[in-house]
Symmetry: C2
DNA sequence: TGCATATTTCTTGTCGACAAAATAAATACA
DNA sequence: TGTATTTATTTTGTCGACAAGAAATATGCA
């Protein structure tokens, strides 16, 4: 009996949806379920050892975040990455980097920075270990922590969505992260965190913008080179 | 037999969720269901003449947009308006006004402006008729149309959420809209639309910012005066 | 054989029923 | 009479079954 179905009888009422949602979400963002993968409710209900009802609820939530697309009465599938409108993604990403970092400099509390610095240490460790997958996720966690210290839930929720979407895009290209750029990102993070700590709003905003544009330029370079992994799109 | 249950037998498969979602959403935004109202699944299933399954799906979607709050195993209710963190709402609203208008000036197509101008006419008519409720909804529709012509779905979806939330807030205060301000908004709209049409990105951004700050100042004035309708919070 | 139509199969959408959890009500006890 | 414990009620979470829609397959006909 595998891990998931073995939990069938000891599951608390109401927890099933969250389990399914979390696992599917991670599998989609990690491209274990690549864009276009069919989502079959019956198959999932067998896999997780529960009826289709909680499965469907998890799928409705995933659809609400745009991670899956549902055709009425027919097929549900993992949503495509929209490479045609990538510029609108970059616009939104850069703006959210800027504004969340700026607000962090303005509104953070000292205790917020402890968490931020811990995540920055995680990121530095991932860079040191040349673990590209860990870099992607710790980088997202770090910037989200900075954003949360800015205390604007509208911005953090959009930013979170953008960073997740970025996780899918970057995973296509993570090979190329084995170069000198990540170390530079560690230094940039340090500078940003110090500017936030010093409550230097303008500097924090400028550094965040430069950092974001750096990342965007990096992704765009990869896009035109087109040397991505053989993940079916 | 009332309107909703009479549709029971002629409903197309799959349409039930959308009907329930749309109606509940409007009722929440129009404060017919004020914040804190209990949401009873059985009651709703009787009202709409369908089983709890599609009702629940609609509720999951509403919860995803933050319009209702669900406590596990217990009570679902219309979410509260967060008056304590209003400044983060205003920050987000102003920024989205600015950025969506700016992008509209940059990326709109001529045919987009026809729809925008039609909605501006609707808004002007609502002002002329002193219909505060129509002003609120046509104003939101107008700015959303401008945003959509900027073709950045990340920004438009956040903006749409903010405008909806604003619909709830403004509805608390719509009495005070019977003054000279709305006419000024009509003129400001005209200026913004002309700047967008002329593709003057900087001017469009500046006008949008001033317009947004005008609105925010108006709401804030109402908040401190506190002369709101007797809607239970 | 090629195409249109009928049939089957597969997946989703909806239903009614039951079980679990939380609250409300009732009872027991001091 | 006041409080703790037990019981009943209410509401949500989950289930298995069935029906409707769409695609896949089979059949009929030229």
């Amino acid at each position: 009996m595998d891990n998931e179905t073995s939990l069938r009888n000891e599951r608390k009422r109401g927890s099933g949806v969250k389990v399914v949602y979390d696992i599917l979400r991670d599998e989609i963002l990690d491209l274990e379920l690549p864009p276009g993968s069919p989502i079959d409710e019956v198959q999932l209900s067998e896999r997780f050892g529960m009826s289709r009802t909680p499965i469907r609820e998890a799928l409705v939530r995933l659809a609400g975040e745009g991670l899956i697309d549902t055709l009425p009465n027919r097929s549900t599938m993992v949503s495509q990455i929209d490479f045609l409108n990538m510029h609108s993604y970059f616009d939104a990403l850069v703006l959210m980097y800027r504004v969340t970092t700026q607000l962090a400099a303005k509104y953070h509390r000292p205790e917020d920075l402890e968490a931020v610095r811990a995540l920055q240490a995680d990121f530095a460790a991932a860079v040191e270990a040349q673990d590209a997958l860990a870099m992607i996720s710790t980088n997202a966690a770090l910037h989200l922590a900075i954003a949360e210290s800015g205390r604007n839930s509208y911005f953090t929720s959009l930013f979170s969505r953008l960073l997740n979407e970025g996780r899918r895009i970057l995973r296509l290209y993570y090979q190329s992260y084995n170069d000198r750029l990540p170390r530079r990102f560690v230094e940039e993070h340090d500078e940003i965190i110090e500017a936030v700590a010093a409550r230097d709003i303008e500097l924090a905003e400028r550094l965040a913008r430069e950092h974001a544009e750096q990342i965007v330029a990096q992704i765009q370079k990869l896009l035109v080179r087109g040397d991505r992994l053989d993940v079916r799109l």
